[in-house]
Symmetry: C2
Subunit: 399 residues, 2 copies
């Protein structure tokens, strides 16, 4: 029997033996904290999933290479500049950034991962990072500071930790993420760092992470644009002494799923300009790949998102988006629920109390449920409404 519970004020440093710190080094125009380090006192096994965009940012190229070794101990991360589309110079910059952290921490640069988020096509201001790194003070409760340092257009920091109590001991899983824009992950997401003090071999760690990411970050969409900087990295430093083997991997996967779903929903809620979280459940699909495609397509539809923004029960757009998702379906079997109200039953439009549904749509969380009535597969995706503010934010990002 295992018990999983969320910790009050949990952060990425809630797991034992992890430290973090952040500083203002002047990359972000806002003048906020923009450079941070996450560090484990002991060497860790590491797992990671990275963007599938053909354009990979320099820090993705560098970190992906290092994660392949299965070990790491620290992550240095900046916001305000993505170090993407910067050619070979950009890769050299990312490597130097890792070296700066390694020197400070007395590590090999190969044990330091690098992450960046911000504007694409601009070189990193290395001079600022060089002096910034010196100012970072690592603390056992530094997770919250790091969460703030990786924000760009995010309006709140996204962090969580949970404690897993098992028959053979307790361990903690912590996580931090950033989101907001260019969010439509394909096998990874913008930036997410996860920690655990469990003792897990790198291969098992990678399997557990992959499964958790598939039902969480890979099911979030803000705007359909996949970033070249997406990365989810999980460090396990074995400080708790709890050993996770293949037999107990299911437990770690469950804990990671809870962590990642929590952070993924935070990202959706805090989409650029968003005022609401949209949850799309697709049931009765012929297979899970199709259920996932359908849920993601509906959650990504700009017309569905705009209707939800205006509290408009224009459910025809939900069905139209489902129809273009490319999955197998039959219109005459389809049931559609909007905020719990059945608006289509076996392909027939249902009459409903428009005013009441209007009211339900004003809630902060809007649920859309589609039952295909064909098979047993199910998937859930999360998105947000599309507001005028999304456009305002994105029409002058670099100007």
């Amino acid at each position: 029997m295992a018990v999983i519970e969320f910790l009050a004020s949990g952060t990425v440093t809630s797991a034992q033996g992890f430290l973090a710190g952040a500083t203002v080094c002047g990359i972000k125009a806002s003048g906020g904290v923009d450079l941070a380090i996450l560090h484990s006192e002991k060497p860790c096994t590491v797992a990671g999933v990275f963007t599938t965009n053909a354009i990979k940012a320099a820090p993705v190229v560098v970190s992906q290479r290092r994660v392949r070794s299965g070990r790491a101990q620290s992550i240095i991360v900046n916001s305000g500049c993505a170090n993407a589309c910067t050619g070979e110079d950009g890769v050299a910059d990312a490597e130097e950034m890792a070296e700066l952290a390694a020197k400070k921490l007395g590590l090999s640069a190969y044990d330091v991962l690098v992450a960046s988020t911000g504007v694409i096509g601009v070189r990193l201001p290395l001079e600022r990072i060089r002096s910034g790194v010196k100012g970072i003070v690592l603390k056992g409760n530094g997770g919250h500071e790091l969460a703030k340092a990786i924000m760009t257009t995010d309006t709140f920091p996204k962090e969580v930790a949970l404690r897993v109590e098992t028959d053979f001991g307790a361990f903690i899983v912590g996580g931090v993420a950033k989101g907001a824009g260019m969010i439509h992950p394909q096998l990874a997401t913008m930036l997410c760092f996860l920690t655990t003090d469990a003792d897990v071999e790198a291969g098992v760690l990678q399997d557990c992470l992959r499964q958790a990411v598939d039902v969480s970050f890979n099911m979030v969409t803000i705007d359909g644009d996949t970033s070249p900087n997406d990365m989810v990295v999980l460090l396990a430093n074995r400080t708790s002494g709890v050993k996770i083997g293949e037999d107990s991997a299911g437990l770690l996967t469950r804990a990671l799923e809870e962590t990642c779903v929590y952070l993924a929903k935070c990202i959706a809620k805090d989409g650029e300009g968003a005022t609401k979280l949209i949850e799309v459940v697709v049931e009765g699909a012929l297979d899970v790949v199709e259920a996932r495609a359908a849920a993601r397509t509906v959650a990504a539809s700009p017309l569905v998102k705009a209707a939800v923004h205006g509290n408009d029960p224009n459910w025809g757009r939900i069905v139209a988006a489902l129809g273009r998702s490319g999955i197998r379906m039959e219109e005459r079997r389809l049931d559609v629920y909007l905020c719990g109200t059945c608006v289509m039953k076996q392909g027939q439009p249902q009459s409903f109390d428009r005013r009441r549904l209007n009211m339900s749509l004003t809630e902060k969380e809007v649920s859309i449920k589609l039952h295909l009535n064909l098979g047993l597969a199910k998937a859930v995706a999360w998105g947000c409404d599309l507001s005028e503010e999304y456009v305002t934010i994105n029409s002058a990002y670099t100007s």
Copy 2:
């Protein structure tokens, strides 16, 4: 030698032997013209391409069946109600709509096609259509009236005609379209009716139409949402006496391409809330399928569209969108031009006069050119900017 020239004030009834008329029948809340008939004095051969959305509106189901016979003589069309997601009752409604027109015109209902556009999930107000049909007066210059009757959130009617002068006589191709929202056609587009007085066998007609649609309507995107009502239909009534066989089909295809590209660009320009036309050219791709996918993905990116709206030369978003398009590419070979200014050369960011590029972006037409430098394939896609107004229009469409 053939000469193709645009006619001044050309409409869908510019081709000989075509008539049209429209009326206010009270489906559109605005009280504008909303029911129209396009009619040929002689029976026509017909070609059509229809939505690939798994959800097909009733008029698509009915018209698709009739186009298969290769002959038709009239089209009845309404705006304000899509007659989509209306089950079997909706199909019966669409069939009755065709019958009403057939009775008025003294035809078999099998020679009448049906089209609808507007809100999804609402039954057609047949009573209004019954009395409305009686009030339609068909005229040889009625094309412009029909163009207005099929508008929904469109801000201007979209119509064109051109004259093809050949060694063996002259013929005319006319066309009318509507666009504005839910525009991301897959093998068809919202609504487009084309006419010609050339004499063309149905099989040849279908081939010519398919080719023209592929480089025009299939390369337009407003919001990534594919409508269940998309339909492009071409009627050929042979009144000019000019016979188009397999040998001269290339000429008709060229004329149709010019017509369809013109209308497709009108649709992009008049996207909901749009202030600018965006043209995306992809060159140097390994094959044309990839060139097309790349051009469409960039034209559809909400982040690219929002940046263009704000005159922000944030070209990194163009490259990020290209990268997620799934095509084969190498970052180090990529050249990117924005409004004619080179912003990336062989994968390296280029310095440019930001203020001058800012100014260029304020033009009504913004050009994006991506050279992959891998192969010889090329494609062009058209889209529009994403404005706050798009959201405003779509957040209260049915409320």
